[in-house]
Symmetry: C2
Subunit: 192 residues, 2 copies
């Protein structure tokens, strides 16, 4: 894996992306023994509707804690996708909600599409776990942190009464990632 991995989790307020970023950073920095920094920025941009949470993970000390070019971009709204895809590394991957991001950007990167929020609603009766399913997909696809570490971080950060549903959501994300990998391979890295 690269020495320094930069992630951008983007969508709109209320989609739980700050918490997702905190969980990813804790998984890396507390349970996987790496260094991690999690950041959110507010300004004219944040007031425009698209919000993002950034995570930088490194094997060594992190000098500059902001995302320069994303290696992994999660997009849970069209607005966020349009905005942050410009900052995707040429080797970076895009994970997008296929129901919420209908105009998929015309890029040569690996793209993984899945109806994440819709699946959260169908399987768990709430869209609140969209962020945790997304984490499962990202970790399943990229192994940016270990599955064990992300499980521990999820359990330590979500409220006790919501622990079980969030653990299931995470495991579902791992499964989705497996399917997406196969699908992606078959279609020669082009997703329909």
């Amino acid at each position: 894996m690269k020495e320094r991995i930069e992630m951008c989790l983007s969508g709109s307020g209320g989609q739980g992306l700050i918490l997702a970023g905190i969980i990813l950073a804790e998984a890396a920095g507390i349970y996987d023994g790496k260094e991690a920094v999690q950041t959110q920025s507010y300004g004219p941009e944040a007031r425009g509707g698209a919000s993002r949470s950034e995570v930088v993970i490194s094997n060594g000390a992190i000098d500059y804690p902001k995302v320069i070019k994303s290696d992994i971009l999660l997009a849970l709204t069209q607005t966020a996708c349009d905005k942050y895809v410009k900052n995707l590394n040429k080797d970076g991957i895009l994970v997008a909600d296929s129901t919420l991001v209908t105009e998929v950007p015309n890029i040569s990167n690996k793209i993984y599409l899945f109806p994440i929020a819709e699946t959260a609603q169908k399987k768990f009766g709430t869209k609140l776990v969209t962020n945790i399913i997304s984490l499962g997909i990202i970790v399943g696809l990229t192994e940016v942190v270990s599955q064990e570490a992300i499980q521990k971080a999820v359990c330590s950060r979500v409220p006790v009464k919501a622990k079980e549903v969030n653990e299931k959501a995470l495991l579902l994300g791992f499964d989705i990632a497996k399917d997406l990998k196969v699908k992606n391979k078959k279609s020669g890295n082009k997703i329909n």
Copy 2:
């Protein structure tokens, strides 16, 4: 006010300092029309027990989002105080919990001591609002963000059922700040 204000909210895990940082940054960046970045870092340091949440607020674009020298340091444990006071600006202020930080550092800065966690427990029957009382004290003392902005940010970030108690905790923090200002003036900026 300075163009760029740097804050370090320090203590131990579970004291709600990440949430406090997010609320401060949202108050500045969403409700006060400034730019704000909120960061937490995980690494060897985080595994040592002292945790911190950093907030940088500026009237202009924020180029470097991490705290270089704190203008405001909140310390809710002795370990955190000992660690992060070294990074306090010479004109910076220290706000510390007087029950949890018993060895007050020998510095020439303005120091404001108050039994924050104990007061949370006594007045609200829970230490969970220690972070929000702390925010009230910081904003009351420094006006780093407007009182209106921090009230809006608290209400938007805490769970609906906990809104009332958190609003009260914030207002209590404002009142404590008023008293601390008077006390600090009387004692010639030296707190007993």
